[in-house]
């Protein structure tokens, strides 16, 4: 059984933002919301590192456990989705998720409603919903340096291990 996962290879990410653009275009994600974002650590300093962060489609999702409305569910192939018709918009999943994956329309006004939660769907569902498509995440497909690995957990971890071994063979020190 395939279990879909993401694996960011932080040594390769150059923060071009291609993943964010590809995601927004593919899924019609509105302004102010990002299903994936690149976070830079130690910007301008030694050890600068870019980390593409999206929903990790956790094996034991904290958001799923926290959701009081049972709006979040996990497919057999490991993809975690939200049923927007069931979501109340309480925002508790956003507190429970360690990766900041659940997104809400956070406004500044007193009456700016959050709306329902949106998150990375592994490109099986666009922002507005509809019929589920095949899991082919565009963020990984469009990644220029192939820093974002997506696919079956066993396959991508094997690819990552291979890369790490090659880097060690070349004498590269991670983070340098």
């Amino acid at each position: 059984m395939t279990t879909y996962k993401f694996l960011p290879d932080v040594e390769r990410c150059i923060r071009c933002g291609g993943c964010e653009v590809a995601c927004k275009q593919e899924n019609n994600v509105p302004i102010g919301m990002r299903r994936i974002r690149v976070v830079t650590v130690n910007e301008g300093k030694t050890g600068e590192m870019n980390v593409p962060m999206a929903c990790m489609h956790c094996t034991d999702p904290a958001c799923l456990k926290a959701c009081p409305a049972k709006a979040i569910y996990k497919r057999e192939d490991g993809i975690v989705l939200v049923d927007k018709d069931k979501c109340v918009g309480c925002g508790y999943c956003a507190y429970a998720c360690p990766f900041g994956a659940p997104q809400f329309h956070h406004g500044e006004g007193l009456f700016s409603f959050k709306g329902t939660m949106d998150k990375c769907t592994y490109c099986v569902l666009p922002y507005e919903g509809g019929a589920e498509k095949a899991p082919e995440p565009k963020c990984a497909a469009f990644c220029a340096t192939k820093a974002l690995l997506a696919g079956d957990a066993d396959e991508i971890s094997a690819t990552y291990r291979q890369r790490a071994a090659m880097r060690l063979q070349k004498g590269e020190i991670p983070g340098e």
């Binding site: 932080v10 976070v39 830079t40 650590v41 130690n42 050890g47 590192m49 980390v51 962060m53 904290a62 456990k65 926290a66 959701c67 009081p68 409305a69 049972k70 709006a71 018709d85 069931k86 979501c87 109340v88 918009g89 309480c90 925002g91 508790y92 507190y95 429970a96 998720c97 360690p98 990766f99 900041g100 994956a101 956070h106 406004g107 500044e108 006004g109 007193l110 009456f111 700016s112 409603f113 959050k114 709306g115 329902t116 983070g175």
Partner: protein, 325 residues
């Protein structure tokens, strides 16, 4: 600003629970029926406060309000579901308890005034009031505990500490008795000023009791604040804790933190000292005025405290990539 409705909900819940606890405690301590009847005014606090809390929490989810019934669907694993259920139970019990006060045949101010509520109250039985009040108080404590425990999450290292639920529970013991003291002060201050010994004694007794309770809770709150600041700088809170403490002590939330300390702790203690001195000098009217001021200060302080709780928190996902280094 995005957390304003949550802040209002929690503060009004604290007020509702605290006022109910104060009233139940008074009922346990006061044996004289006539004196007890004078406390009826305080029974008007819990339900309106709880309803304001419910309205406030409904506002951010208004577009999906028809789906709100779904909030109780995940009681097995979601603390939010438990919170919703306990809130409903608290409100129902507090409503029954209030009804038994305001419809009481001897001193109920709504007796024979509003429709058939007297009949409902008579049916429940006034002898059961204390038991119902105790159950409501227990449910209220559970509500505040779950509200705080909601935020004790591994994904939020800054909140993942035992002080978080305590920060939701302890202020109820400052707000509640102070609110009850305010209600009594507003009602009986004039009478006490006119040297009416009966009211003077009543106010003096209650203010003396509330004073000690609020002082104790304020001291606990100060200790909790110190323990929390210490925790933020510990390895368990990690980078998120260090960033939060920096924001609180020397960053964008310093003003908010100082205002919180000034209101809930410093000014509160000064006013408590004023109440104590006035009570000792038997200046009941002055003590009553100071008690009203104390409630306002504590209420504003708690609004600031809850705002700080949400605004100053550095979430795990903001610092998670640092852990890769």
């Amino acid at each position: 600003m995005s957390h304003i409705w949550y802040v209002l909900t929690y503060v009004f819940n604290q007020l509702a629970v605290g006022a109910l606890i104060a009233l139940v405690m008074a009922e346990y301590l006061v044996k004289d029926k006539k004196t007890l009847g004078s406390y009826e005014i305080a029974s008007y606090i819990p339900i309106p406060a709880a309803i304001i809390g419910v309205i406030a929490i409904c506002i951010p989810v208004l577009p999906q309000i028809l789906n709100a019934y779904r909030l109780i669907f995940n009681i097995t694993s979601s603390r939010m579901s438990m919170e919703v259920i306990v809130t409903v139970l608290f409100i129902v019990l507090a409503l029954v308890y209030t009804l038994l006060w305001v419809c009481h045949p001897e001193y109920g101010s709504l007796r024979k005034k509003v429709g058939k509520i007297d009949e409902i109250a008579d049916m429940i039985g006034y002898k059961n009031r204390l038991q119902i009040g105790t159950m409501a108080a227990v449910m209220g404590v559970a509500l505040l505990f779950i509200s705080g425990f909601n935020y004790v999450l591994p994904s939020q290292p800054v909140w993942n500490h035992y002080t978080t639920p305590l920060f939701f529970m302890v202020p109820a013991l400052t707000l509640g008795p102070a609110a009850m003291a305010t209600a009594l002060s507003i009602k009986y201050k004039k009478a006490a000023k006119k040297e009416q010994t009966e009211y003077k004694k009543l106010l003096g007794t209650y203010l003396g009791f509330a004073w000690k309770l609020v002082l104790g809770a304020t001291i606990v709150l100060i200790i909790l604040q110190l323990l929390y600041l210490q925790f933020l700088q510990s390895p368990s809170a990690g980078i998120a804790g260090l960033m939060t403490v920096e924001q609180i002590l020397d960053g964008e939330h310093t003003t908010l933190f100082l205002l919180r300390v000034a209101t809930s702790m410093v000014i509160a203690l000064v006013l408590l000292a004023g109440v104590a001195i006035s009570l000792k000098a038997e200046a009941i009217s002055r003590a009553a005025t100071l008690s009203i001021g104390l409630f306002i200060v504590l209420f504003v302080g708690e609004l600031l405290g809850r705002t700080l709780f949400f605004e100053a928190c550095v979430h795990f996902y903001e610092v998670a990539p640092h852990l890769l280094l």
